[in-house]
Structure formats: C-alpha cells, structure tokens
C-alpha cells in the first residue's frame, strides 16, 4: 500500500513549544498533503507540497519534503491549545486517489 505512516502516533507537548510530526511513504509521489482533524469533526486541509518542492510555509506551519528519504515533516511552531488535534498526511502517486495515513494525535498541554 502507498499509505503514508505518521510518526509518532501520539505527541504531548507544553503550550508554546514546537511540535514536529513525520510521514513516511513507500513509492514515488506526485504530491503530499497534510490535514488536521479536531475531535468529532471532519478533516481540514492544511498544506499541499509537490514532489519538486522541498519546503512550504503557512502561518505557523512548515512542511518539508525529502523525496530521497520518502518522508515529510510537519512543524507547528509556538503551539497553542487550539492545535490539539489529529494530523494526517495524504499521498498521491500516479493516477491513484489520495491515500491517507493513520495520523498523529497531538495534545497541547496548557
């Protein structure tokens, strides 16, 4: 399966600290997306990074992509209680549909 695998599965940090989560995948991709899911809600798109890009920013979010290692990381800087959520990577390769990983559950401790 092309499914991305997030690491760690769960992460707890103090408010104000930075949070980093990783996604590894198995075959070459066209692009990779990150989504956030708050408890009891649907997923919300955060960032899309294409295979020819190495880094993208959006506010406090920074996503990197290393195609040689088949991995991506999502960095959330200066975390807030509202960042408590599950974060999913989703990979696209070939003509296939988007494939979602199992997620990282992030808890921000006030």
């Amino acid at each position: 399966s092309q499914q991305g695998e997030e690491d760690p599965q769960a992460l707890s940090i103090q408010e104000g600290e930075n949070a980093t989560m990783n996604c590894s995948y198995k075959t070459s991709i066209n692009n990779l997306q990150w989504y956030r899911q708050n408890s009891g809600r649907g997923l919300v798109h955060l960032i899309l990074i294409r295979s020819n890009e190495r880094e993208k920013h959006s506010g406090r979010l920074r996503v990197t992509l290393d195609t040689s290692k088949k991995s991506s990381s999502l960095l959330i800087t200066a975390s807030r209680a509202a960042d408590t959520a599950s974060y999913f990577c989703a990979t696209h390769f070939g003509n296939e549909k988007l494939t979602f990983g199992t997620g990282t559950r992030l808890t921000i401790i006030p």
Partner: protein, 114 residues
Amino acid sequence: DAGITQSPRHKVTETGTPVTLRCHQTENHRYMYWYRQDPGHGLRLIHYSYGVKDTDKGEVSDGYSVSRSKTEDFLLTLESATSSQTSVYFCAISESGQGDGIQYFGAGTRLSVL
C-alpha cells in the same frame, strides 16, 4: 464544513438492516467521496463519484453501494449492515479528481451496527 452536510450524524441500527447515508454539497464540486475511519486504519476510500451517475469503487467497497442522481447529492447504502461496518463515515468533495485536488470534508456520520 465547506458547504457539506452529512445526514444523519448518528445512527444505530441492527445487523441485516439496510442503511443509507446522505451527503449534500452546495459547492458544485464535480468529485465526491465516501470514506470510513477506523482506529488504526486512518481514512479508507469506499466509493467515489466523478459526475452525475458516474461512480467507481475504492479500497474497501465490498458491502457498500452508492448513487449520485444530482450533482449535490451522493448517497452511500449498506445493503445489509454488519457489525464490521460500525465506523465513522466521512463524505468529501473536490474540484479536481486527481490526487492533487484538495478535499473538503463533512462532519461525519457515526454508525453503530448492533
């Protein structure tokens, strides 16, 4: 939730009964998807639609059927519900059908099959 309404939001049913979940969008997006979310499995694609009356199977389509008679509505039917279909079901929409399309999700339907 980006103009996407799922109904019902919660449902409890018995094994062997038919169940239909509805997804309604007001965004006029061409593509619509049904996913199920289970612990340890992430989101898995059940079926998707690329236009009115145009649908195709996803990764976990067995036991499910779909229909799309209007652009705005995408129905997921469990012909005879089983306990293994207890899950949270999400509808999503996108303008692009390729994997580079951003997907917008509904709030989900929590289904329990007893």
